[in-house]
Symmetry: D2
Subunit: 299 residues, 4 copies
């Protein structure tokens, strides 16, 4: 089918390629003209120089996939689209938006009889080759209409209609929350190995565990590869960003009265990794000095 793709970053660009390989016709747009040009030249994609042009190049019932950062960029893209699309058209948000935003946006769309689909998308830079795991929330009719696209993007069995609008981003959010926990579990384990009394070969252990152990996983395969290229993790600082889904997972756990100590500890480990120094630790150091005369380290 024919589809418009807005946002050609690390994810969007590869998704366009996978769609084209799957026989779909794609109209592509990005604020930055570079990737548009590249896809046009190398992948036989129809480039658009603006969102109105992209909309113009599509015919009703139009399907537009937004693959832009969550927050303001998604909000603004949606607003622009709402001013251009017609009843019956479909907007898909494939980014990492908060599911509550998606529910709100779906209402805005519905007011104009435009369909909104939230398509949580996992797979990272490996999605082009392996396919993207898709968690799709939305009305039956719209989701069904877009299925050819979902089936091309996803590997076999890698696409699920999770339920009503919002559920796709909700499931993707929890997916990322779990991911935080898995990463932190491996991180702690390898740090314990590294600090041990034994002179262990961490790259060899990462590789070993992928063969028959209980902890084998795709992430561990990636770690095996990362260690193969860089056994000492040279030039990699222990500084971990987060893009929001972990925070939201904790907030939803709290809303649901669900204890989520591991996902939360993983989030806090990221915060700590970005702190030069904890003010709380200064308070404690001051207090230990005050009650026990324990020396403080001065700056």
């Amino acid at each position: 089918m024919k589809i418009g793709m807005i946002g050609l970053g690390r994810m969007g660009g590869n998704m366009v390629k996978r769609l084209v390989l799957g026989g779909h016709e794609v109209v592509a747009y990005d604020r930055n003209p570079e990737p548009v040009k590249e896809l046009q030249e190398e992948n036989d994609v129809q480039g658009a120089s603006s969102i109105p042009e992209l909309v113009n190049f599509l015919e009703p019932r139009r399907v537009v996939w937004m693959m832009v950062p969550a927050g303001d960029p998604t909000e603004q893209t949606l607003e622009t689209l709402l001013s251009l699309l017609s009843p019956g058209d479909i907007i898909i948000d494939g980014g990492n938006s908060n599911f509550r935003d998606s529910m709100r946006r779906a209402k805005l769309c519905r007011a104009q009889q435009i369909e909104f689909i939230d398509a949580g998308t996992s797979g990272g830079i490996w999605g082009l080759a392996n396919g993207y795991c898709l968690m799709v929330g939305g009305e039956n009719d719209a989701v069904h209409y877009c299925e050819p696209v979902f089936k091309t993007l996803a590997p076999e069995n890698g696409y699920l209609h999770t339920g009503p609008v919002g559920s796709g981003h909700f499931v993707k959010m929890v997916h990322n929350g779990i991911e935080y926990g898995l990463l932190q579990a491996y991180g702690e384990g390898f740090e314990i190995l590294k600090e041990s009394q034994f002179p262990l070969d961490l790259p060899a252990i990462a590789a070993l565990w992928n063969h028959g152990s209980v902890v084998r996983s795709w992430l561990l395969e990636l770690l095996e590869q990362a260690y193969a290229q860089n056994p000492d993790l040279k030039n990699i600082r222990g500084y971990i960003e987060d893009s929001g889904e972990g925070r939201w997972t904790v907030e939803e756990a709290i809303n649901e009265n669900v204890p989520a100590p591991v996902i939360t500890a993983s989030l806090f480990a990221r915060f700590a990794s970005r702190q030069e120094e904890s003010y709380g630790a200064k308070v404690i150091a001051a207090l230990r000095n005050a009650f026990g005369g324990h020396p403080v380290k001065t700056e």
Copy 2:
């Protein structure tokens, strides 16, 4: 090669079968004569009715694999073996012993010129088919001598000589610590899904994520299968045992000054799953009543 196997439980019995399939000659013993008889009749294994008989059936340089519970059973089996074996013989502990015990036991063995190998063994009930991931600590010579056995038990690339005595069980311990964290991450995620405002199909999501998502893993494949058989997890209580490695991982993290919040939270979640009621919570309920007049629930 020829090898003695002591302990024919969930792990040991299958390991004997895999060894026989791999062309090794196995003498097998268990306190319980049932599994000995079975292996004898169905797998062409030489059964022994006692440890002395098992030792007798082997010729020096004897290799004996202990696959018995950690703690007293392993200690007693080792003592018995030490009274029967000759210099040059090799004892392998494939169980989940604490690596500090293994280091101590290796010294006892060395005093009699007997070699001790600690072979951390992962793979569970799937090892017969898939192979066991082996983390092996010990002297080069002894480990090299037993390699044919390790290579048969393990899948390809699933065996590693991790370093000196103790390192095998140390690496296996950390492996299990990571496993705790992975399990808890999935557990929290699926609980958040379950308690959500959306009517989600958890078995379908577990299956979906195994196709192209970042959190795909062997454990998640097992969860997919478990859900396929029992979508509501009926008759499964939220009661989680632990067999020691998680505790030891936390203790070693503490010894090494390594923060391990996720592995520790996973351990504590198991403790909590086994408590009818927390005494600490009673204290807090009493205190909240005392300062704020907040009502307490009475028993």
Copy 3:
């Protein structure tokens, strides 16, 4: 000065008494006529049978203190007051409202030239005797105008103008977050004492520690008293409610990128205390059975 008090529960009723003792004139109202009648008869308070009547009994520049549950009750009371008060009048929210709600409500008030003050109030049922610790956010002028009331309610040095509107409830929120952590620290400690190999006298230890130890505190004094009355904490279930501030503290910590593992663990311990069984634990039990053949407890 003259002040209206809406909400005569555990907190509000005692605050009225303290205000009267301090020489203020109080008009009191509650949905429930009982406490109004009581205060009228025993404490020489002017009772009102409705909010309009209460407003009527005051003269501009009116000061009305709301001491009702956070959320809908506060919202509705505020709306009612806004329909009755005049420019220059002052509304004080002494309840446990979320500071973001207070900031929003202050805007609503400002649109009518009515002042809004958020007065975080700590002290529980002991406040009548000891005074209430007050954390007050709002405009200088309004806060200054109400100071006689704050000074009466608070013990000496127990009142602070914390800053602009919202800051009072923010500081109170963090106060309660800290309280969660303190309570959980004591709870864990006394549980470790209780489960120890020694036959310890917990009530005696709670009392002891209030004399010269580093952990002495008002909460520990309350625990000493609670134990004195009920050494076995009989009829107190380990079931801990929470009223919101702990959740918000965690959410704000996340907003600020501040790791708050202790406050969060304290919140999750409360959630866990209220769960019959954790679904996440069921998932883990199912998985352990799947990979290791570990038995599950059936229901």
Copy 4:
């Protein structure tokens, strides 16, 4: 009564002074002759230049209080004393020894009919003025014999015979575990205050909360004082040592199957405060780069 004191550091020196003020006769020894000389000159204490001399200066039934660092120094002092003392004499360990060591040492003493008492001592540098909270484990007879000393050192009601040998240090250990949790709760709270959107006056809030709030405590009084002297905590690094009791509390919680998330998180926060960088965080940064192309910070 007459007592020997070995170890005249931050704690021991002040304890000697308090004992002398209480009318006891003290023989004092330290490896470092300086504090011996000082106490001799200023406090009318009998100085000893060696442990044998100290023992010589006492008459049976001798009582010797060890106030030296836990671990080797305590072990060696005990060994020296065992070679010098006579049946019936009493050794008191007032330091922060692990209770398991104390139980072992008590056995060594018992073999020579010497009594061993473990006296957990809290109060820090404030003990001279306020008294030391004493948690005393040991045989009834010996504890009773030393009571005059305990009663002088402790404030009123600040001394408790907690039970058999080991229980004193056990209770002190848990006391310190709780202390970790209290400190971390305050630390987190003040960090959340500091990072807030409001320009809060932290020293004023610390002071405020000591007047009527639920979180008032001795530690908070010390924080009030620390802030009064150093409102910006200048020259205090967020680097927190630990002296062992927190680790042991976590280990004993694990031994007892008690979840102790807050005490453990407090311990891990100290570890993290001392790490330049977490290796686990490097692993996670490498992995995020591998699966998502997320940029890493280079060193």
